[in-house]
């Protein structure tokens, strides 16, 4: 990944660095937003680029499992809604790549890093969407889990990322409605439909439980991100919020959650669950998931087959501004 070097940083005295860091942390403590031209510790910049890049990659790879089902959507309403939803996800990727650009990363390089397998994307998109009802579970539960994360991150300290996330959350709320309505419709459907839905949940539940990242006791990135106001809740706190919000609704719909240890601790109000398999999580996000290779290969193919278009656009822009032909109709 290309990381913008803060040229000043290396030329500053230790005292000056400490003074700036103190001012920076003071601003964060007061709830100020950090803007692209402000001084920031290199580590803050690096961590944000890493986070936003992974987030953008996840949006663009997240378009693939659902996008695959647009041609098969079984009604006008579903076809148009799913198309609109996936379009939103691609739009989010664009917004996020732009937010990362404000930190000095280049879009072209970020995409190159994605297709060369150097950068990561969310664990859930390394799994295949095999049947139509997977689309309903993804739109409801994965978008639901993502909203928990993104609402929290949207209050974070970096201005451009925070603002992009506000807009993303606004759209994600529609996705959640779309997903919930699909799940409710199918849950009230025929025996075949209910079995398909349960099958989807059984397969997606383990990856969804890993979505918010490793348990706090093993997560290596969390503490610094919390300190600098990038991340306002830990992974476990987010997971718990997701369970509190969604488990009762799932049970109401007659879905069986495939975890024999899942139960409510009445004293704390927390849901207790089987600890996800964090070895699987690590293996998956490092490219060892069931369709990790396919996802990257698809993005790579799209990027390479579109190269001539981007080259022609650059050439057209370099030669001269081409006026639009006169519109006669």
């Amino acid at each position: 990944m290309v990381i913008a070097i803060d040229p000043e940083l290396n030329q500053l005295s230790k005292e000056e660095c400490e003074r700036r860091l103190e001012t920076f942390e003071g601003r964060i403590a007061r709830g100020d937003k950090v803007e692209p031209t402000d001084w920031m510790p290199q580590e803050y910049r690096n961590q944000l680029i890493r986070l936003i890049h992974v987030h953008a990659n996840s949006e663009i790879c997240g378009a693939l499992p659902e996008g695959k089902w647009i041609p098969h959507a079984p009604s006008f309403k579903r076809k148009m809604a799913l198309l609109a939803k996936v379009q939103d996800e691609v739009g989010h990727a664009q917004l996020l790549y732009r937010a990362a650009e404000t930190l000095g990363a280049s879009r072209e390089q970020m995409i190159e890093d994605l297709i060369s397998g150097k950068s990561k994307f969310s664990n859930v998109f390394h799994y295949p969407a095999d049947i139509w009802t997977d689309v309903a579970i993804i739109a409801w539960l994965i978008d639901g889990a993502a909203i928990v994360n993104q609402m929290m991150m949207s209050d974070g300290s970096y201005g451009p990322y925070s603002r992009a996330l506000k807009r993303i959350c606004y759209e994600e709320a529609f996705h959640l409605k779309h997903g919930y309505e699909m799940v409710v419709t199918i849950a009230q459907g025929t025996k075949m439909q209910r079995e398909m839905l349960q099958d989807s949940l059984d397969r997606w539940w383990p990856p969804i439980m890993m979505f918010h990242g490793p348990a706090d006791k093993v997560s290596k990135h969390t503490s610094m991100l919390v300190q600098w106001g990038v991340k306002l809740k830990t992974n476990d706190e987010q997971r718990q919020q997701f369970l509190r919000q969604f488990v009762p609704k799932m049970l109401d719909l007659g879905l069986k959650i495939p975890d024999p240890n899942l139960r409510l601790d009445k004293e704390t109000g927390d849901w207790l669950y089987t600890e996800p398999d964090w070895d699987e999580f690590k293996r998956v996000i490092n490219g060892g998931g069931p369709v990790s290779g396919d996802r990257v290969a698809t993005r790579k193919l799209a990027h390479e087959e579109g190269r001539w278009v981007r080259e022609a656009l650059s050439a057209a822009a370099a030669n001269q501004p081409i006026p639009m032909p006169t519109m006669t109709v």
Binding site: P74, V90, M192, W308, V309, E311, N319, V329
Partner: protein, 263 residues
């Protein structure tokens, strides 16, 4: 003097049949081009274009839906049954939209442009026509369609004149698709009735206007059309390329698991 028809009930039986024939052609073209457009969602050469193509595909599907709704008002099946339950030979779309262009951006772009020019001319003709509900609908749809045309007008010169490679790919796409585009104007038995009732222009007249518009823009984009090309007909009478059969198999896959189920 052509009488204005304020509602669909004002149509006499033969004219009603002609309007149904016309609406199927409009609706089937629109849903299939929309479906083809959505095949690029998540896969386009640049993110901005991914978004644009998805957006236009939604418009096209939305236009199709309004035409199918009008067909339903005229006694045809409801839109979902019509699209997800209909057999191949009952479809009336032109081969231009049926052809598969997955992973071929030049063909997808040229095809969309050819279609959009034709669709704009059709809507313009309907908007000036004597069947009021259809004229009103056409005016509404035209307001969206003009952005599709702007999209095509933006791209044609940029790729037609961008690099040698882009020029060649675009010229190949024009050469391949032009005969299919002419096939959009295949005459049907409805032509005379629709013309006499003042509802819609004759297909040969639309074709003349389409050729003039396209020829001009392609010329300004350093692309050439083959004036001697013969149209590929058949779509309007239910004879389709295999690509449409494949498309419909995919589109109707989930629906056909249980046509009575709600998803």
């Amino acid at each position: 003097m052509i009488a204005t028809m304020e509602t669909l009930n004002d149509l006499d039986a033969p004219t009603k049949s002609a309007v149904i024939d016309l609406l199927y052609r409009l609706a089937d073209d629109a849903i299939i081009i929309g479906h083809r457009g959505s095949e690029w969602t998540g896969f386009a050469p640049i993110l901005e274009e991914d978004i644009a193509f998805s957006s236009m595909a939604q418009d096209d599907m939305g236009h199709a839906l309004t035409f199918y709704q009008m067909l339903h008002e005229l006694g045809e099946p409801d839109p979902d049954t019509n699209v997800f339950g209909r057999k191949l030979e009952q479809w009336k779309c032109a081969s231009l939209v049926s052809l598969c262009s997955k992973r071929d951006w030049a063909k997808s772009l040229v095809r969309k442009y050819f279609y959009d020019v034709a669709e704009s001319l059709r809507l313009e003709s309907l908007a000036q026509g004597s069947l009021v509900p259809l004229a009103q609908l056409a005016r509404k749809l035209s307001s969206e369609k003009k952005y599709h045309l702007m999209h095509g007008h933006m791209w044609m010169p940029r790729l037609g004149q961008g690099t040698d490679e882009s020029h060649q790919l675009m010229q190949d796409a024009v050469d391949t698709l032009y005969p299919h585009a002419l096939g959009m104007f295949e005459s049907t038995g409805a032509d005379d009735l629709l013309d006499q009732a003042g509802i819609f222009l004759r297909e040969d007249e639309l074709r003349k206007r389409w050729v003039a518009a396209v020829d001009k823009v392609l010329g300004e984009s350093s692309l050439k059309i083959n004036a001697k090309a013969s149209p590929v007909y058949g779509g309007r009478s239910g004879k389709h390329p295999d690509d449409l059969a494949t498309l419909l198999d995919g589109m109707q896959l989930v629906y056909k698991l249980d046509p009575s189920a709600k998803w």
